[in-house]
Each structure stands twice: as C-alpha cells, then as structure tokens.
Subunit: 399 residues, 2 copies
C-alpha cells in the first residue's frame, strides 16, 4: 500500500485532522438498547455526519481485538499484521522513552530468588511502585563497555531496559522461565545478529544481580520481549505529509513518533489540545489528535462516564471545524464497550468530512448508522488512503 | 490467519454452534419477488435476528461459485484458495472413505476399449450403478506388493481407488486422454516424490485390465485426480476447540473429519441431529450441524420445497437456543437458488447471535436484510474469527 502512496502522493496546502477517540465504539448494556455513542448528545458530530460520510472501521480483521499499538498503526495506514511493534519497544514507547535506531528495548521484571538463585516469586510480590522505582536508579549503575544502558521504572515489578550501541540485534529469548523453583534462563540470541545483544544482556544481568543482592524485596530480575525499534517508514516518506501529534499520554506520543510525527504542545486537557492544534495549524499538513478518556471510561465499565466523555469531545468540534480543515476524520483505534470493560473487536464508527466526500443518508454519528454509511465496512489501514484522496493529495493511478 | 488464532486463542466454557443450511441463499423467481428464505415463515430465526446481527458471507471471492469443499473450508476458517482438497481426496471423502496420512485417493472412470486398447467410450455408456458397483469387488482383487489397495463404487461409471502405503506422493498425471480413439495414458509422476505412486498405479491398471478383459460394458478404466489427504491443521491446533460434527451425508462428515472434528451420532433427520447435539453438549466446545435439504431442493429447482425445508429448519431453532449456546450462527456454505438449479456465487445470509454481538437494525432473516447487517459483507473465512471473538476465546492482539 505504501508502495502505491509513495508513487502517487502529491503535496498541496490541504489540512487533514484525524481525531482519534480511543476505544470509541461500544455496545448497548441491554439487547435493543443504545451504545454509549448512540446515547450521547452529539449535535456537532451529528451535523458533521449529515454533511459527511460514515463507515465502520475494522481495526485488524473481523473478530480481532487490537491493543493500542496495532490499533493506531492501522489508523496510521501501517498494516498491523505486517508491522509489529515488539513488546519491549512498546513498553519503552509507553513510558515516553524515545527509541533510536541503535536501541534494543527490553521489559524487565523484578523477582525474588532463594539462596540457590532459584525464583521464588516471579513478580517480587508485585512490589509497590514507590519501592521499585528507586531500584531503577540502582540498576542504572551497570556499566557495559561500548554500550549505553538505560533503566527506567514502569509500575510495580516492571521496568524497562534499553541497550544502545552498534550491532545490537533485537532477537534474544526471554530469561523468564515462566515458573518458580528454577533459576532465570540465560539470555540466548535467537539469530546471529543478536549475539552481541545477548552478551550485553548477560553482563547486565550479572552486574544487576550483584547490585540487587541485598534488596529484601527484589533480589533478582528477568528480561522479556527484547525488541529493536520497529522500522516504520515515516509519514513524510510514504505520504509526503508533515505530521503533528497532539496527545496527552506518553504511549500515543510514542506511537506517533515511531511513524515520524512531531509531538507538539504540552496539552493536558482536550481544550488545551485544541489550542495546540490551532497554534500549529500553519506548520503541518496532518494532525493526529488523541483523546484517551473514551477508552479509560469504557475499561472502567462506566457507561455514563463514557457518554459524558463523548459529549465533551462533541463540544470541541466547532473549534476544530472553525479552522476549516480540508479533511476531518473522527474515529477510534478500536471499540471499548463499557459492557465488556475491555478493548473489543467490534468495528469502530468513523466519520469523514470533506467537500468531496460523497455524503450518505446517515443522520447521526453512531454504530448502527455507521454500518449503513457510504464508507461501508473497511479495514482501518485504508483510512489514510481516503484521507489523502479527500485532501487531493493522491494522483491518478495509471493513465 | 491461523498463525494469529494459534497465538491468540484461549479456552473457556463457552459453546459455539454453527448451523449450516447447505445452499441457503437464493433468488426470487421474478424481479422484485422474494427469495426462498424471504418467502419462508421463519418466526424463530426472525426473533433471533432481532437480538443478533446479520451479514452476507462471500464464500470465496465475489462472483466465485464454490463446490461443497471450498464452501465448507471457508466456513471452517480455512482459506479456500490456499487449502485445496484434491479431486480424488474429495471423491473419497464424499463416499465416507476415511483417508489416512499414507493414502493417495484417485477417481476412476470405467471406459470401453477396442481390440487395440483404444478408448471407444470414456464413460462406458454411463453404465448403470447396479452394473458398475460389482466391478469394484472385481478390482479389489488387485494385489500390489507393499501397498494396500481399496476400490469403492461411486455412481454409474465412477469409482474411487485408494492406495495406502509409505512414500506415496500425491502428484501423478491423469490417464484419461480426454478423447476417444486413443489408448489411456500411462500414469506419470508429476514430481519425484510421486514416482512410487505412479508405479503402483501402473501395476494396478495392468492387473485391472486383465480382470476387466471379459466385462462386456466396461473393458477398461482411466484414473484422474490423484490426491493425498490434504494437510489441514485441526480445530484443536488452530482454535483450541474440541469440535463435533453432526451431519447426515458422508461428504460433510468427511469434510469435518479433515479439520479434526469428531463425527458424533447417527442421526438421519434434522430432529435427530438436534437430539445428538443435546446429548453431546457437555463434551465439545464447537458444534457443526449440517442440514442438506436447502441445497438439494435448490438444485432441483423446487422453490416451494426449499421454502418448506427452511421452515423445517426454523422449527428446530428453539431446541437449539434452549441449550443456551454462547454463540449461535446460522449460515450456508454457498447459495443454491432454485432459479439457477445450481450452486451460485451470491453472498449467503448469515446470522450470528451472542450476548455481545452488537445487534443491528435487521428484523427478519433474509438476503436483502443481511446486506444491511452489522457484519456487512465478509469473506466466509473470517466467520470463525467472529465466532471465537463472540465466545471470548480470542485474546487481544498486541499490547
């Protein structure tokens, strides 16, 4: 697909806004009832629906529930089955660590070891974050010649290690044996290019064991999900777009950074995000604006709160349309029905407005309407093609 | 796709029922008229439609009419363009011959030969089944050292040969020259691994010619469609499902067996099939229930009979829902419009019910409604993903 866009993209003065309401899609609480989005009073989104076109976005494949990584890669136009962000890289991304091309990121777990070095608790009793965070500073003392080592706290027993250096392959087997009563495994290279990484990890573990020896709650560690920075071509390369990301949470900034978007502003609220959008309007072609709370309320099973968050989103729409974007898209990276309290596979209602979008009969923005929309049901990875096309940024294919 | 399901499947206590009404989809007899399904009185399926979600299943690709093999492989989640059941294997499956991994199955045709061994009739005058069936017993006398030989009658001039032994590849060219006035071709291996099979076939043909020499109506034979048992991963492997098949006809039992389903019961009627379903409820996770007569009435061009068969199906639905399946799917492997008296490419109306299926606006189970359904138009191979998702049997993809 990017082979096509690389060949066809053209540049112009258009502006594309992709407003991602995380986990937007939902379910009714009772059969025959309304979803969160259908329940919400959304006069602005409904007005846009009448002028725009709806569709139902399938994040990965029918029935497949995506995590945030694959969910956003799809929206960004990167086939989420082809481009896989390794666990370690995603964890580093999630805490806002900016991965470079010489980095290998690894998820670490503190554990407890007995006198023979056998694991007694794989998660160190889920040690409290305030107790585990200082341990990252202790481990940061490890020195491996020729390699930079970063250790960052995450939460409870989890931390992130990043090895930075030349010739570090990303394929090393986990050292977590997935059971207690045995010692952690040796880090073994899964391919020849990762031999140096395995050696570095082994030395890191050796020194870390010394440093943790006297720690009462976390006397050992395991390493999992070794991953190099995923090789994603940038928005500039594949779409010819100068892209900006306006997100509050590190994970989404990180995902945007992986596809070459610039992180702009330091907004902490949706209102502030719209402010950042307006301030940067002239400097970019594409704006990814991420709204988290439609997902977190869904995860909490808080139907009414999710409804309110959707109404909050609706309320800022006029401030976006006032900027007169060429293409305005409102969608989600997946559904998070309050009923399920989790991400789900259900298609995501998606609204696209442009002056040439070919409107449909849809009157209100909702799951049931979206199914009848002019965009039909489509795999999320195609949304960027529609965005570019509606912005006049794709030339004709073939003569 | 199975790479994905192997990684993501989880086990739980859910029950999935897939009720396949063979050739379910149809056409109106006159423009503007109703299809068989739309004509039928289906109060139970309509009630389920109101709580469930509809869609239109595309068996292979738009415009492609499938046989029973690809039709069912799609429903079972095996890409019918990737997994091909060789002709010989399908013929053996169709007569209920249980193929093993050391088997090569071949379709045989009786023919007539002149004194010089040249074919005078490629189908032996479509010899009557009661005359050809005993010939299978005659041919079963063939002995090839180191190989077991099975010969089974099919119908008229057709029979099946199965060679069982070590090192038998499945790629041997047909011996039918597709014309008269020439002798049958020599069986030639199409790859080195099938040389032994070709030798075995040559010896089989030599002895068979001796045995048939004095048969007035069928003095020779040709062999076509050499095929090993297709290597299909099992439901247990790719979905983690203990699957049962409840079918009346050998072909469908055979297809189910190829994907590792257990054939349960000896039901001869739909009522009995539902009884078998209930009896085996606690022993399996997934039930494939095959109903043949929506197809055979369509093939006969008997519109009203097909309507009645659909109503017969509708009448047993309460006995299925009483079992409280987590996911209930009603679909077909393809359309068989009475108007065409044959299988067709038209999408198949498909109903899925679960407590989290995200219902749509559809009110009755029919072709026109299904087009507007919440599942949209989808390739049949994705149906199993939806079944697993709705049963809570697929973990999240990526973090």
């Amino acid at each position: 697909m990017h082979e096509l866009t690389r060949e066809l993209f053209v540049k112009n003065d258009s502006k594309i806004v992709m407003l991602v309401a995380d986990g937007l899609g939902g379910l009714p609480l009772e059969p025959g009832g309304k979803t969160e989005l259908e329940t919400a009073q959304t006069p602005n989104l409904d007005a846009l629906t009448k002028k725009g076109v709806l569709g139902a976005s399938i994040p990965v494949l029918p029935g497949i529930t995506p995590g945030s990584g694959p969910g956003h890669l799809g929206l960004f136009g990167y086939d989420p089955l082809k481009y896989v962000i390794g666990r370690g890289a995603l964890e580093a991304t999630g805490i806002g660590f900016e991965l470079g091309k010489n980095d290998v990121a690894v998820r670490g777990n503190y554990c407890t070891l007995d006198s023979q070095g056998k694991i007694t608790d794989r998660r160190a009793g889920r040690i409290a974050t305030e107790e585990s965070a200082p341990l990252a500073k202790v481990l940061a003392k490890v020195k491996v010649p020729g390699v930079e080592v970063f250790v960052e706290p995450v939460k409870e027993h989890r931390f992130v290690v990043v090895f930075r250096g030349d010739g570090l392959g990303g394929h090393v087997h986990d050292t977590d044996p997935q059971k207690t009563g045995v010692p952690p495994l040796d880090p073994l290279a899964a391919d020849p290019a990762s031999k140096k990484t395995a050696d570095v990890a082994r030395e890191f573990i050796r020194q870390a064991r010394e440093l943790l020896r006297d720690q009462p709650k976390a006397s050992g560690l395991t390493l999992r999900g070794f991953a190099a920075k995923p090789a994603l071509p940038s928005y500039e390369e594949v779409y010819g777009l100068r892209a900006a990301a306006i997100a509050v949470y590190p994970m989404y900034k990180g995902l945007a950074r992986l596809v070459g978007m610039q992180i702009v502003g330091k907004a902490q609220t949706l209102e502030e995000q719209i402010g950042v959008l307006a301030e940067n309007w002239n400097n970019y072609d594409f704006f990814f604006l991420h709204f988290k709370y439609t997902d977190s309320t869904g995860e909490d099973g808080a139907f009414q709160n999710k409804v309110k968050r959707i109404e909050e989103l609706d309320a800022v729409i006029p401030r976006v349309t006032q900027l007169n974007p060429t293409v305005l898209i409102v969608t989600g990276d997946h559904s998070t029905p309050s009923l399920l309290k989790s991400h789900s596979w259900h298609p995501v209602p998606t609204l696209l407005y442009s002056a040439c979008c070919r409107s449909d009969d849809c009157q209100t923005f909702g799951e049931r309407e979206a199914v009848h929309g002019g965009l039909g049901q489509f795999e999320a990875k195609y949304l960027m093609l529609l965005a570019l096309a509606n912005a006049g940024r794709l030339a004709k294919y073939g003569a």
